[in-house]
Structures are given as structure tokens and as C-alpha cells.
């Protein structure tokens, strides 16, 4: 029974990780940059939802609909006024875009620290500690709600990317930026919107995880690391890959925490990360294709 519960909890958690990672993979796909500020965006989204809940009594699952537009705007601004500028700069190391995201990460984290101190905070709702029983397994209610909202968002994003003109433009830019530009796609607008959507998804994922995680300014690092592992597992730029990658990571973490020592579970994740980088550069999808 322990195994069953471990697996289900892992998958549910993984669904929410997936939402955050999809945000990162969208940004990576379109911009071809590694966004080390992604976790910080999750953190900001969590604080927005937290403030809504603490100061205005708004339920976190409603608060996320405030956090998402706020983060969308923040993402657009970061992309437009900071990252896009670097395209024109002639630097010796192309990785300076990555470093810029480190700078952004520092700024966001420290602003949060100034406003909220380094305290550990959490949101409690009436249903926070509720559980439902599935046979002999008890599943926490926030985990269940979070998972279903995350899956709903993933599905809606999938529809958006495949059915709408804007979504198709984003995918086109992701596949071949030059060709997309020749076809008349305004790539700077697309990158801006993509970063906005990526940030909004990060906020959504963060808000869903808020009832389950402690919130503090440095919590972002955790999510950056998780998103990376998921994106690499799923293959860069692939939405569905990230969704499956998220589930896998959630499962692995849950199993690892139960059956391997807590201390080494992160090591296992990182080793898998390097192995996938080396041997499966396209993520687990390259296994399927073979």
C-alpha cells in the first residue's frame, strides 16, 4: 500500500512540476536560452498568491488568477527590456544571456527578501489538511486539486499552441526562427509573449504548490533545478515531453524519498540529468523514436 500511495503522490506532485517546466521549455524552445531565473519567477508567483491570501483573504486557487497576469506582465517586461537587448550586443561569450538571467534571479530573490524577510511562510486553508481515501491510500486534497488544475492548464496550452494563430507562430519561431521571420512573423513580439506565458505558467505552478511547500525567497532555486531536469528529460522545447518529464520526476522523487535516503535523492536526480544530457540529448523521446 505504501508503494501505491508513494506512486500516486509522486504523480500528482509531478503534474504540478510539469506545469512549471512547460513554462521553461517554452522559453527555451523559442529563445534558445537557459533561463536560470525561472524558479525565481515561480517564487514571485507564489508570493503574489500568498499576499492575496494573507492580506485579502483570497483563496490560493483564485489568487493564482491574479498571480498569472502579474507574472505575464513581468515576463514580458524582462524579455523586452533586458534579454532582447542582448541580441544586438557583440559579446565574446554567448552564455552572457544565461548570466543575465542569473542577475535577474538575484534581483527578484532579493526584492522578495526585502519585502518578506527570509522567513518560512505557508498558506493554510480550510481544506489544507483534508484527505480523501482511495481504498486504503490517503491522498491530500490540495495535491489532488493542484494536479487536476495543472493538467487542465497543460491541455489548454496544448490547444492554444496547436489551434490558434498566435500559438502556431510560437511553435514556428521555436522550430526555425529565421524561417518564421521570413514568413512575416514578428519574432520580437513572439519572444516577448512567450516569455510572458512561460512566467505565467511558472506562477500557476507555484500557486498550486503553495499549499504544499514552505515559501521563502530562495525557494526558487529548487524549482529551477527541477525544471531543468524535467526539460532535459523531456527534450528541449517539447511541451508534451515536459509534461511526461514532470510526472517522471515527481515519481522518482517520491520513490527516492521513501526508499533511498533523503540526502542522496538529489544526487540521484543530478546524475540522471548528466546521463540524459550525454546519452539521450533529445530526452526520453529519442528512445521512443529509435
Amino acid at each position: 500500500m505504501l508503494l501505491g500511495q508513494t506512486i500516486i503522490c509522486g504523480l500528482l506532485l509531478g503534474g504540478m512540476y510539469a506545469l512549471i517546466a512547460i513554462g521553461m521549455t517554452l522559453i527555451m524552445g523559442v529563445m534558445k536560452i537557459i533561463n536560470l531565473a525561472h524558479g525565481a519567477l515561480v517564487m514571485v508567483g507564489m508570493y503574489v498568491t500568498y499576499v492575496c491570501s494573507k492580506n485579502f483573504g483570497i483563496d490560493p486557487y483564485i489568487g493564482m488568477f491574479i498571480a498569472m497576469p502579474v507574472l505575464f506582465l513581468l515576463g514580458c517586461l524582462i524579455q523586452k527590456y533586458m534579454i532582447n537587448r542582448l541580441v544586438e550586443v557583440d559579446s565574446i561569450l554567448p552564455e552572457n544571456q544565461v548570466l543575465l538571467t542569473v542577475g535577474i534571479m538575484l534581483v527578484l530573490t532579493e526584492v522578495a527578501r526585502l519585502l518578506f524577510k527570509s522567513d518560512y511562510r505557508s498558506v493554510t486553508t480550510t481544506y489544507s489538511s483534508d484527505t480523501v481515501f482511495l481504498g486504503a491510500m490517503s491522498i491530500s486534497v490540495p495535491l489532488l486539486i493542484g494536479f487536476f488544475i495543472a493538467m487542465l492548464f497543460t491541455f489548454m496550452l496544448h490547444l492554444f499552441l496547436t489551434k490558434t494563430d498566435l500559438g502556431k507562430s510560437i511553435r514556428a519561431t521555436s522550430q526555425d526562427r529565421d524561417a518564421a521571420v521570413y514568413m512575416g512573423i514578428n519574432s520580437s513580439k513572439i519572444t516577448m509573449i512567450t516569455f510572458g506565458i512561460g512566467a505565467a505558467l511558472a506562477a500557476a505552478g507555484g500557486s498550486l504548490l503553495l499549499p504544499l511547500f514552505y515559501l521563502f525567497p530562495d525557494v526558487g532555486h529548487l524549482f529551477t533545478a527541477k525544471s531543468f531536469i524535467i526539460t532535459i528529460l523531456g527534450g528541449l522545447g517539447s511541451t508534451m515531453g515536459a509534461a511526461v518529464g514532470g510526472l517522471i520526476l515527481g515519481l522518482a522523487e517520491s520513490l527516492g524519498a521513501t526508499y533511498i535516503s533523503m540526502g542522496y535523492k538529489d544526487v540521484v536526480g543530478l546524475v540522471i540529468f548528466i546521463l540524459v544530457l550525454l546519452f539521450l540529448p533529445g530526452g526520453f523521446r529519442s528512445l521512443v523514436k529509435r
Binding site: 542582448l86 554567448p94 544565461v98 548570466l99 542577475g103 548528466i274 550525454l278
Partner: protein, 317 residues
């Protein structure tokens, strides 16, 4: 032109040697010692990242290995941590061999990510092998020497060796090959350059001297724990920033960057209180956006533009 450069170098060395004559306050000397440590780290990182173009997000691994080599010698064998100055760099360089073999299979951002993950693995392992490393409790030693002046000159000597070694490497065949690899790996291969071999030739001294800085840090600060010396943000990322601040692929850039980093850090810390890291973060963004090749790198460019001269030195070669 060469003479002017030579004279400036001499002046710089004289200044560095004379600093403790004028500045005797321990706190101020402490600042200069920190600058020296960061200058060594930055100069080492610059060899691999700046010249060879292999941006490592995991140099904390080498720094930490150097520091722990010194610390563990004392903890387990009761030896003076100064033996770590010899052992630390060697351990770091030995670790660099397999790390290079793994990570140089990857290019560009993938290399950066793999190094990042490796650095974190080292931190986590050192946290968890508590029997051997003391885990998160860290290692505390009682330094035999407390004179700041002593540490200043020892550190300065190490920095001088690091700078000289880097300078000699960069101005040799290896240096040309490294820059060629950075500029275009396919072109480099077509010129008969075994790119993986030369990347390793940059990584080894880079790890060696970063390990040296780590071992010296252990001796000077006398306390380490995995979260300090294997830290991703405070060591690995700062190593890159120091170089970016000062000048990518320049001889003196990392030293200048280290000075700016430490001075500004201290200035912000004393005047701005808790906002200091925030201001520093903003500064980082501004520098990357407006001076992408660092202050020394862009000065060069500025000079070239104003003098309307054809470039005589480029890519730091």
C-alpha cells in the same frame, strides 16, 4: 605600446607589494586578501571560460576540493593545513580529468549545464558523507598564523604565479588554439586542432589554480562547510561574474573584476545593509547589458574606436 604595458604591469606589481606598507588595519587588509582569492579564481576560470570559451558553471567543485583537501588533512591526519596548498590543486586537477572527459562531450549551454550539475553533486556528496567530511557541520581549524600581512603576501605570491602561468599559456601555441576553439570549433578542427585535448589542457590548469585558491581560503578563513565552498551562486556563478565584470579573455580583467566585486560588495554591505545583494544583482544586469565583455574588455574597444587604429590585439592573444 609594449613598453607602456610593461611599465603599467611593473607599477601594478609595486603597488600590490606596497599596499600593506600603507594599509595596516586588519579589516582593510582582509578586503585585499579576499580580492586576491577572487582574482585567483577569476583568472583560473578565465583560462577555460574566457579564452577557450567553455563556460563552466561548476568551478565551485574545484574550489571546494582544494579547500577540503586542506581541511581534511588537518581533520583526519593532524597535518598542517598548509600541506593542502600542495595537495589541494593536485586533487582539483585530478578531479578535472574525468570531469573533462564527461563534460567536453557536450557543447555550449549543454556543457554549462553539465558542469552546473557536477558542481552540485560535489556539494551534496560532501554534505552527506558525514563520516569523512563532517557534513554540514563543516571543518574548523585553529590557524597557526594570524598575521594578515603574512596571508596577504602569500596570497599575492600565488596570484602572481597564477597570472604568470595563465599569461604564458595564453601567449603560446596553446593559447592560440584555445581562442580558435572558442571562435569556431569546426574551423579549429579543420586546422588540425584536437579540440577535446586542448579544452582539457585549459581545464587542468584552471582547476589546479582554483583548487589552490580553495586551499588558501581554508587556511585563511579557517572554517569551511560544503554549502560555503561548493556554493553554486556564491562561488561558481560569482567566478563568472568576476571575469565578466573585469574583462573576458584579458590578462588583468579578472583581477580588476575581483577588486570591483569585493570593493562594491563591501561598500554595499556597509552602506546599504540588507539591500546590498539586491544592488549587486542590479549592477550585474547593467554590466552584462551594457559592458558585455567586462570593463577591461570594453576599455580596449573604446581605445580602439577613439584612436581609430586598426586592432593590434584581439581575442586576448
Amino acid at each position: 605600446m609594449l613598453n607602456k604595458k610593461f611599465l603599467m604591469t611593473i607599477a601594478f606589481i609595486l603597488l600590490a607589494v606596497l599596499i600593506p606598507v600603507f594599509i595596516k588595519a586588519p579589516y582593510q587588509l582582509h578586503i585585499f586578501i579576499l580580492i586576491i582569492i577572487w582574482a585567483i579564481i577569476g583568472t583560473s576560470w578565465n583560462l577555460l571560460g574566457g579564452y577557450a570559451g567553455q563556460v563552466s558553471f561548476g568551478h565551485a567543485a574545484f574550489f571546494g576540493l582544494g579547500a577540503y583537501s586542506a581541511g581534511l588533512l588537518t581533520l583526519h591526519y593532524g597535518l598542517s593545513p598548509w600541506w593542502g596548498i600542495l595537495l589541494g590543486p593536485v586533487v582539483a586537477a585530478l578531479a578535472a580529468l574525468p570531469i573533462g572527459m564527461i563534460c567536453f562531450r557536450l557543447r555550449g549551454p549543454y556543457f554549462a549545464l553539465a558542469m552546473l550539475a557536477l558542481g552540485e553533486i560535489f556539494r551534496l556528496v560532501f554534505l552527506n558523507v558525514t563520516d569523512f567530511t563532517n557534513g554540514a557541520k563543516g571543518i574548523l581549524i585553529m590557524p597557526a598564523i594570524t598575521s594578515k600581512m603574512f596571508y596577504y603576501y602569500t596570497g599575492l605570491g600565488m596570484l602572481a604565479i597564477t597570472l604568470l602561468a595563465t599569461f604564458l599559456i595564453v601567449h603560446s601555441k596553446v593559447g592560440y588554439y584555445l581562442v580558435a576553439i572558442r571562435e569556431d570549433q569546426d574551423a579549429a578542427t579543420s586546422l588540425g586542432i584536437p579540440t577535446t585535448l586542448y579544452k582539457n589542457l585549459a581545464l587542468l590548469p584552471s582547476a589546479f589554480f582554483t583548487g589552490l585558491a580553495g586551499a588558501f581560503y581554508m587556511n585563511y578563513v579557517a572554517f569551511i562547510d560544503p554549502n560555503i565552498v561548493f556554493n553554486l551562486t556564491n562561488i561558481s556563478v560569482m567566478a563568472i561574474l568576476v571575469v565578466m565584470l573585469g574583462g573576458v579573455a584579458t590578462t588583468w580583467g579578472p583581477t580588476i573584476g575581483a577588486a570591483i566585486y569585493i570593493f562594491l560588495g563591501e561598500l554595499f554591505r556597509t552602506t546599504l545593509g540588507s539591500a546590498n545583494v539586491l544592488i549587486f544583482g542590479i549592477l550585474v544586469c547593467v554590466i552584462i547589458m551594457f559592458l558585455p565583455n567586462g570593463i577591461a574588455g570594453e576599455l580596449d574597444l573604446l581605445k580602439r574606436v577613439t584612436q581609430r587604429k586598426k586592432a593590434s590585439v584581439s581575442g586576448g592573444v
